[in-house]
Amino acid sequence: MEPYPYTVNPFVHQDRFWYPFVSPFDPCPPIRAKRYVVPPNQFLGFQPPNLLQFPPAQALMKGTLWPALFSPYKKTGKVEIKDP
């Protein structure tokens, strides 16, 4: 199973997938890949000084001044899912 064929950067690639058992007797159509998000605060540690910043107007809209702390979220169902 190789979910990311490129170099993984946890600050960019925040989605994780796991693949639950699918029974032939499941009543609903199976969701083969279950997604969860691991936000960048899990990796940053104590924030170092002088990180790259968004321009102020953009930062106000995004909710953070630093790209390193930005966590985009796409609705479940709109995420491209790779089967194992």
Binding site: P39, P40, M61, K62, G63, T64, L69, Y73, K75
Partner: protein, 189 residues
């Protein structure tokens, strides 16, 4: 004391009258991991945590009230012109019977807010880890709300609020690092 600025932290726009969505959003208003619980938790814990992190708890607790105000505005806008008939269809008949269109501190299932949602243990590690957990749970709640909502304007605001939870969690993690240090203690053993 506080200084109030009569504006929202982030603009709240609503695409359509959708009382069903309001019923879900109320989870972040009076739910266990909602903004009210967060604000009360931090502003209460700050007295008995090391003074190094008091300012952080004050700042974040205050911001949670700004978020509470945004959620309240969303809920208000989604329901203000809904007819009793529409509210009934949205599953808000019980709410209408008790409150008309007034907001109330309860969760999406209608359970009233309770102080048992929050904790103050007095132990700095225990309390800060609870705060980190609360931020991650609030982040998750916003994700499920974004998933269940098809209102692009509401989702825009929810994504902003979700990002703030990520930043708050980061700050609480830094607070843990601060209080792990030996501070002014004499550095010989």
């Amino acid at each position: 004391m506080w200084v109030y600025e009569k504006k929202l932290q982030y603009p709240v726009r609503v695409s359509q009258c959708n009382p069903t969505l309001a019923k879900y959003l109320i989870e972040q208003y009076g739910g266990a991991d909602g903004e009210l619980a967060a604000a009360l938790r931090y502003l209460n814990q700050r007295y008995t945590l090391p003074d190094k992190v008091t300012g952080l708890l004050t700042d974040i607790g205050t911001e949670e009230f700004a978020h509470l105000e945004m959620i309240a505005t969303m809920v208000y806008k989604l329901t203000k012109d809904a007819t009793p008939e529409q509210l009934k269809e949205a599953g808000l008949g019980d709410h209408y019977a008790d409150h008309d269109r007034a907001l109330f501190y309860h969760n999406a299932a209608g359970n009233p807010f309770t102080a048992t949602y929050i904790q103050a243990k007095g132990d700095p590690i225990a309390d800060l880890y609870e705060d980190i957990a609360a931020e991650e749970k609030a982040r998750a709640t916003y994700q499920w709300l974004i998933d269940i909502s098809d209102d692009p304007d509401i989702n825009d605001g929810l994504k902003f609020l979700r990002e703030r939870e990520v930043v708050h969690s980061q700050r609480f993690r830094e607070a843990v690092e601060l209080i792990k240090e030996y501070n002014e203690q004499k550095n010989f053993f």
